[in-house]
């Protein structure tokens, strides 16, 4: 099985999808000949031609508006937004159009073919505008799906599933891991389920939940906790919308404790949604308050990025506090 980094895995998924279905079309800023600023679309124009992999003008609302129309027509657009921080000019097209296309037409029309890819997250000295994690904004929008992979294997399988999913998907890629995360990735076509969480480590004392780049951070925290004799169950949510309530609840019913972590700010972050649901469904089983380890309620900083981020030490402390409560 070949070893790939996350970019190679994403590129490979796009290649498979484009080879299989000529309706799959990739576009975005610098996506064409250049292959994207991160090279996720490298060589796709060469292979599939300029009509199926191309640059767009620099206009995010136009990219997603165009993608919505293209999907409604029956094509399968995979639109790239260069950084998730720049998705906001397209907020109206995503929230008012993409998400509501099927519902408002009574299923006469839909944009289910659409996938929007966007690199998100910090840890790359990107400051305010190359670091944000905007998943919670979109999680408040019924009609779209939100998927965040944690490693190359997951990225390929989830992206192929997203492209073929009958609903529009926002696919947030942890850019800090683009080249840092490597692993074995099957060459062949495979899909991983959207809407299902995955237990990546079984344990009995504390459930630790995250997604995307935080999974690697959680793993480091859990190793410290295990040394202190705390057995952790680690859950990768993978899909933020729809999210797998049952798997999370099942784990918390077992451990009685939950630590949730994300890079985005605390207030209004998706951890709050998970916590609210878990307390509702696991109230009598909880042994400790549900803990949230997140970014601060500030814009994403630059010089003090390390201090801002919910790193393994902060998570480790939260696990210990939960276990000792």
């Amino acid at each position: 099985m070949p070893n790939m980094n996350m970019l190679q895995a994403i590129n490979n998924a796009l290649d498979i999808a484009m080879a299989e279905d000529e309706k799959v079309i990739c576009f975005g800023e610098d996506v064409g000949f250049f292959g994207g600023v991160f090279r996720a679309t490298s060589h796709l124009q060469e292979k599939y031609g300029k009509s199926r992999c191309f640059n767009t003008p620099l206009v995010e609302q136009g990219i997603i508006g165009f993608a919505n129309g293209l999907a409604a027509q029956g094509s399968v657009p995979v639109a790239e937004i260069q950084f998730a921080d720049y998705i906001f000019p397209a907020f109206d097209q995503i929230v008012n159009e993409t998400a509501k296309f099927r519902y408002r037409s009574g299923d006469l029309f839909n944009v289910g073919g659409l996938t929007v890819r966007a690199p998100y997250g910090g840890g790359i000295s990107g400051g305010l505008y190359h670091s944000q994690s905007p998943e919670a904004y979109f999680a408040h929008t019924p009609g779209i799906k939100i998927v965040v992979p944690r490693n190359p294997y997951q990225a390929k399988g989830l992206l192929l599933a997203a492209i073929r999913d009958p609903d529009p998907v926002l696919f947030f890629e942890p850019k800090r891991l683009y080249r840092a995360s490597t692993g074995e990735v099957p060459e062949e076509d495979y899909q991983l389920p959207i809407g299902e969480a995955e237990v990546t480590r079984e344990g009995t004392d504390v459930t630790v939940l995250g997604w995307g780049a935080q999974m690697e951070v959680i793993e480091r925290a859990v190793e410290l906790a295990e040394k202190e004799g705390i057995s952790c169950e680690v859950v990768d949510l993978r899909s933020i919308l729809p999210w797998d309530e049952d798997s999370v609840v099942e784990s918390v019913l077992k451990t009685g404790r939950l630590v949730i972590t994300h890079e985005a700010p605390l207030t209004g972050g998706f951890a709050g949604e998970v916590a609210a649901t878990v307390q509702e469904r696991c109230f009598l089983y909880l042994e400790a308050p549900i803990a949230r380890v997140t970014g601060l309620d500030t814009p994403f900083p630059l010089t003090l990025e390390k201090e801002y981020l919910p790193d393994h030490l902060k998570i480790f402390e939260a696990i210990k506090a939960s276990a000792a409560f």
């Binding site: 136009g62 165009f66 027509q73 408002r104 609903d167 999210w243 309530e245």
Partner: protein, 411 residues
């Protein structure tokens, strides 16, 4: 690509150096302007256009009255703009996609959307294709290639560019026309759409209904330029300004625009100069922001009268036929309205379908909880209470015929 010609002293250019002419064929009295030639049009075609214009007017007048009577929550009239909208629709192939803003019901009438279908949407009953989810006038029809309306302005414009790009790749010889007002042309989506269409050489017709007002804001406060048309130069796009109350001119201009779009894969901008004779919507009263005198002046340019005069001049129409048409349409509007009003609302389960292709477990739980609550207070939720139990579904074969056969957007 930028073409440069060097100069060595500063010389600023201004848009005033361009002057955009208005294309007109028909005078108000139904005669052609000197040197003007009517587009090729059979008697049947001309009457189809005329009947659609009258049918739109009759429905609009009656439904606005119904709104005033409190039978309908909301309404919007196409009144005064029938020539622009129907003339454009008549220039297209019936399988070309139409993406509308919201005031283009005339195009749907032209394509054969029945009064019954309009009424089902307006009353949001169980036969409404949109399942009672959107406010009145948000029509859509898959079989008639008419994209379901959404309220946000201008969002449909870049979507049209994308849709037409897909048509170009499919190579089926079709194009997309997208309608919008001169007000919506101020939105960022307008710029994005035209620029992308020009860059990617997309067969799309951008049709601007410049009707003078965006609700109360006159076009003079919308842009400093000479209308919307000059913007086409900035995108290196073909453009024509046409008298929007002259259906023959609109038809001829849109036919040519379609030819350019489909044969050359080039987008075209059409600016139709017209006037919104009615209020913006049933929630608006124009007397606060424009004069009766101004309205009267435009009423003199009524597009339906103008075409009627031409038809009579051709010997294709007479007073008797006019009277019969008006009477039969009025009767049909009333009948269909009464039918639609009586039909029950969509079933409760339709609250959670179509959010996604399949109802998610979370959504199913929410629906179950809601049903438990409604069972406790059925009188407080009469619409939902009547369809609490499964099996109460929308009747009517035409609903199913409109449904998308596959999840992925099209065949």
């Amino acid at each position: 690509m930028t073409t440069t010609q060097d100069i060595h002293a500063p010389r600023f250019l201004s848009g005033d150096e361009f002057s955009i002419p208005t294309f007109r064929l028909l005078r108000q009295d139904g005669t052609l302007h000197e040197g003007a030639e009517a587009p090729a049009l059979t008697r049947d075609q001309a009457l189809k256009i005329y009947r659609a214009m009258v049918a739109t007017r009759v429905m609009d007048e009656r439904m606005m009255a119904a709104q005033r009577q409190g039978r309908l929550s909301f309404y919007m009239q196409c009144t005064g703009e029938e020539a622009a909208v129907i003339g454009a629709a008549a220039a297209l192939d019936d399988a070309d996609m139409i993406m509308s803003q919201y005031r283009e019901q005339g195009a749907l009438v032209y394509r054969g959307f029945s009064y019954d279908e309009f009424m089902n949407q307006l009353f949001g009953n169980e036969l409404d294709y949109g399942k009672g989810r959107q406010m009145p006038i948000h029509y859509g029809s898959r079989k008639l290639h008419y994209m379901t309306i959404s309220s946000p302005l201008a969002t449909q414009i870049p979507q049209a560019t994308g849709y037409a790009y897909g048509q170009k790749l499919a190579g089926d010889g079709h194009c997309t026309i997208v309608f919008f007002g001169e007000g919506a042309a101020s939105e960022g989506d307008f710029h994005a759409a035209l620029n992308m269409a020009a860059v990617h050489e997309v067969p799309v017709i951008f049709f601007c209904r410049n009707n003078g007002y965006a609700i109360s804001t006159p076009s003079i406060e919308q842009f400093a330029a000479d209308g919307v048309a000059p913007r086409a130069f900035g995108y290196r796009m073909h453009v024509i300004r046409v008298d929007g109350n002259d259906v023959l001119a609109v038809l001829a201009a849109t036919r040519e625009a379609r030819r350019i779009a489909v044969e050359q894969n080039k987008p075209v901008l059409i600016e139709a100069m017209t006037y919104r004779l009615a209020a913006h919507s049933s929630s608006d009263d124009p007397s606060g922001y424009r004069s009766k005198k101004e309205e009267e002046a435009w009423r003199e340019k009524d597009p339906i009268q103008r075409l009627q005069h031409w038809l009579m001049g051709q010997g294709w129409w007479n007073e008797e036929e006019e009277k019969a048409l008006q009477e039969s349409l009025r009767r049909e509007v009333l009948e269909t309205m009464k039918r639609a009003e009586k039909r029950p609302p969509p079933p409760l389960d339709s609250l959670v379908t179509d959010v996604y292709a399949d109802v998610t477990p979370t959504l199913q739980r929410q629906l179950d909880r809601l049903k438990t609550h409604i069972r406790r207070y059925p009188d407080a939720y009469p619409k939902g209470a009547r369809s609490l139990d499964p099996g109460v579904q929308a009747q009517g074969a035409n609903v199913d015929a409109e449904r998308d056969p596959v999840n992925r957007g099209g065949e």
